[in-house]
């Protein structure tokens, strides 16, 4: 008996449900073994994760808080992924946006709420956008691998922010913690009256809708899709590849930068070391799981938020070290992503002696 893989001709609907569910079950089984070895009851841990994230209004609001930057950054990378430009640098662009927003609050303070947020937002867009467009230009002009450049530029951006919060921008009143002084009230996003959820949720919703609309309805969205599907055909139709790569990378970075500004202005109220927690990387997974569909990103970002919230409560309630909650989260992601294989292929038993 020999096992062979065969490409699926089409994906039946039951499969679209069975695969993520099957992936979750597998993930819970495998991490259950791990949790048992740690001396924790897996059932109890999973119940804790579920209830802390989806059990009450506060849990749901916390999922939403995490979903806001995730969805924004996922939209950012989706834009570039659609044209097969691999912007891995959303994390760095988030940091650049946050630095720029903090700089606006520090150097051009204003009591006018609208004016303050406008200057923070514009600077964040510019900083994130230029950060990404630089890598885009290198790619388009000299075919420099954008995966490498955007990834490396992440480290530069992260360390640049550390320089500011450890150095010139550190709040003297912070007792040595690496953080800036709190932003003035005019530089804070409004609260929505639901836990810590802030008005960044409106921005995220607008971006999701805009992305959907651009791809579906506009000439530019059509151009991006043609470039992504077949760059040769794009050139053949007279589409300017170089210009589009730079423009798309700018907008991709600008959205990520805006996500960084939203995070510091909406949630943290100041710039501090490690504020992002890897949203820029997790967003790549969100974008993939959504198959680059902006509407799906909204849902997936929320569920991913639930996974993060559940993981945090495992640490607090069950007393597990952070590494072990990462293992559980990693298992879930691994099996869901591995399920992609079974969505596209099926395993058949090869007939003997033909």
């Amino acid at each position: 008996m020999r096992l062979k893989t065969q490409k699926r001709l089409n994906q039946p609907i039951w499969l679209e449900i069975a695969i993520p569910v099957g992936g979750l079950v597998m993930a819970f089984l495998v991490s259950g073994v791990f949790l048992t070895a740690m001396g924790v009851s897996p059932m109890e841990a999973y119940r804790e994760m579920y209830y802390s994230a989806f059990g009450d209004s506060y849990g749901l609001s916390e999922c939403m808080v995490k979903a806001i930057p995730l969805a924004m950054a996922a939209i950012a990378v989706t834009l570039s992924f659609k044209m097969l430009i691999w912007n891995i640098g959303a994390e760095g662009q988030i940091f650049m946006g946050a630095i720029a927003a903090a700089a606006a609050a520090r150097y051009f303070p204003s009591d006018n709420h609208v004016l303050m947020l406008f200057s923070m937002g514009s600077l964040a867009i510019l900083a994130g956008g230029l950060w990404a467009a630089f890598a885009g230009y290198l790619k388009a002009r000299w075919n420099v691998n954008e995966i490498i450049t955007t990834l490396m530029m992440n480290y530069i951006a992260i360390h640049l922010m550390d320089y500011f919060v450890y150095g010139p921008w550190r709040d003297p009143a912070s007792l040595g913690f690496p953080m800036t002084a709190p932003f003035p009230q005019s530089a804070r996003l409004m609260e929505m009256g639901w836990g810590r959820v802030h008005s960044g949720i409106i921005l995220a919703a607008i971006l999701i809708f805009m992305a959907w609309w651009v791809f579906k309805m506009t000439r530019w969205g059509y151009e991006i899709r043609v470039i992504g599907e077949n760059p040769k055909a794009a050139t053949f139709a007279g589409i300017d590849y170089v210009k589009n790569v730079v423009v798309v990378m700018f907008i991709s970075g600008a959205i990520a930068g805006l996500a960084g500004m939203t995070e510091v202005a909406g949630l943290q109220g100041r710039l501090q070391h490690g504020f992002s927690g890897g949203f820029g990387y997790t967003a790549i997974i969100v974008a993939w799981l959504s198959r680059l569909n902006p509407i799906a990103i909204a849902l997936v970002a929320f569920l991913m938020g639930g996974l993060l919230v559940g993981g945090e409560s495992l640490q607090i309630v069950m007393g597990l070290p952070i590494a072990s909650t990462l293992v559980v989260q990693g298992c879930i992601l691994f099996f869901i992503l591995a399920g992609e294989f079974f969505r596209r292929y099926r395993i058949v038993i090869a007939k003997e002696d033909v």
Partner: protein
């Protein structure tokens, strides 16, 4: 010693499916010693699948193969080679950085650690003399011309004592003279009792070289006929499934003014090598200028330069006497220059997008499809439906991804898209390559119709018969240089065109008439 059986290859009941589609359905094939069997059928009819099964590359779902009366195990290229099957693919399987003799022994089982170079080379010389395959065994592959590389491939099979030689569209890359030499080699091989399977689209050469013709359609065997007792029309009918008229109605037209002219163009290929060398051409209203040449002599680059898609290192391009050198390609599209590339799926279409989305590739930025920044998908739909209807595109719906269409239907869709704006200049490269007889005829008729409407047409083809039946004038390209302009192709003589394709200038090929 026993007499070898006269039946060399017997394939029985071969079935092979890909993703549920039967590429071969209960196909039988018999090849006798000394026979040239032509294998015909449109692209996707299952010819390549059948040959890949025979040469051990594909594992079929069912069926048997006997070589010389011995059962061949499936799915092992090694066993197939050992049993005497040799295949010359369309895209050669040679290592470009190695010498001819190194390529000969590559992959041979039981090679000694130190290669007996002198013996190998003398063996190769013997075989090349015997079959008239002139190649230097110590030459490095990439330095050889395409025709020479093909000879190396054939030599490789003979060196491995192949009894059956499969030639997959061998003449597509040859000049008429080289093709003639190839046919001599084939005849010498069959005289010795070897068998040759000859895959081709060109009915003329099939009539010339083959003893029998086997036709496949949609994976099934349509029939086998004796070549001498048949005709081009009959074979075409077998391929298509109904009667086809091969004659074209080409009207006399007085050509108009010059529309597109290229002067002293020089350009590089993607690899940075010189691809065009001082090329000057003029396209006139209502005239088809044909371009003959062996594949890879700069034709693609020339088309791209004329469509504004490739930058020239020097030279000028004029459209209606206005210089358009280095203008963005979209400007040329807007001025009515249309280009049908040879690489349909790779360049002309976006395979994963549907018929509707592909139909608008050359007009999405213009009214009525463009509404400001937006695309009016209703207008696109109407346009796509129009193309599907006017050009008989066989598709389940306009929402079907283009990758699911057959080659002929993709070409019709592309033709429909490029012709829907009534082009002033039409550049068409190998527009009928791989199409069945009916689709080929349809494409040629469309080209003639555009000519009547006054388009200036540039037709590049590897099929000399096609060029001769459509062109009003003809140029021949060799290594990026135009060898001469033939004002009356039909009386010029195919031998002289062949000489020019091999690098002889028109003055030395007997001069212009």
């Amino acid at each position: 010693m026993t007499e070898p059986s006269t039946l060399l290859v017997e394939m029985r009941g071969i079935t092979k499916s890909f993703q549920g589609i039967k590429a071969n359905d209960q196909v039988d094939l018999q090849l006798k010693r000394g026979e040239v069997l032509a294998l015909l059928g449109e692209n996707g009819a299952g010819k390549s699948t059948l040959m890949n099964v025979l040469s051990g590359i594909y594992l079929p779902d069912s069926g048997t193969i006997d070589i010389d009366g011995k059962r061949l195990s499936f799915g092992s290229p090694h066993d197939a080679i050992a049993a005497g099957i040799g295949m010359v693919h369309q895209h050669f399987m040679l290592v470009p950085s190695q010498t001819v003799w190194e390529n000969m022994v590559l992959g041979l089982p039981e090679l000694p650690q130190v290669l007996p170079k002198a013996k190998i080379i003398s063996d190769i010389r013997d075989i090349s003399q015997q079959y008239g395959l002139d190649v230097d065994p110590e030459a490095i592959i990439w330095q050889l011309s395409i025709g020479e590389q093909q000879r190396v491939e054939i030599l490789k099979s003979l060196y491995r004592k192949a009894q059956v030689l499969i030639l997959d569209e061998p003449t597509a890359v040859l000049t008429p003279q080289e093709a003639k030499n190839l046919f001599h080699t084939v005849k010498r091989m069959t005289k010795e009792g070897r068998g040759v399977i000859f895959i081709s689209h060109k009915l003329d050469e099939v009539m010339e070289i083959s003893d029998n013709v086997m036709v496949l359609r949609k994976g099934k065997l349509v029939g086998i006929v004796d070549t001498k007792g048949s005709s081009k029309e009959k074979i075409a009918e077998m391929m298509v499934g109904r009667r086809v008229n091969l004659e074209l109605d080409k009207k006399d037209i007085v050509p108009g003014k010059i529309v597109l002219s290229l002067s002293q163009a020089n350009a590089l290929s993607d690899r940075g090598l010189k691809a065009l060398n001082d090329v000057s051409l003029e396209l006139r209203e209502g005239q088809i200028l044909g371009l003959a040449g062996v594949a890879g002599n700069g034709q693609t680059e020339l088309c791209q330069v004329m469509a504004g898609l490739r930058k020239m290192t020097s030279g000028k391009l004029f459209l209606n006497e206005v210089e358009v050198t280095d203008l963005p390609p979209r400007k040329l599209i807007d001025s009515g220059v249309r280009y049908i590339p040879a690489d349909r799926k790779g360049t002309g279409m976006v395979s994963n997008m549907d018929v509707r989305e592909n139909s608008t590739l050359k007009r999405y930025w213009r009214s009525p499809v463009a509404k400001g920044m937006l695309i009016d998908w209703k207008a696109v739909l109407k346009h796509a439906m129009g193309i599907v209807k006017d050009f008989n595109v066989d598709t389940p719906s306009v929402e079907t991804p283009v990758r699911n269409l057959s080659g002929g239907n993709i070409q019709k869709l592309m033709l429909g898209r490029e012709l829907s704006d009534v082009p002033k200049v039409l550049i068409a490269m190998n527009p009928t390559w791989g199409l069945d007889v009916a689709a080929t005829r349809f494409v040629r008729e469309q080209l003639l119709e555009e000519r009547e409407k006054g388009a200036a047409i540039f037709l590049i083809s590897e099929d000399l018969d096609e060029l001769l039946s459509l062109s009003d004038r003809m140029a021949v390209i060799y290594r990026g240089k135009i060898m001469g302009m033939i004002e009356d192709p039909n009386t010029f003589g195919i031998e002289r065109i062949g000489m020019m394709m091999a690098g002889t200038r028109i003055e030395d090929a007997g001069g212009a008439i």
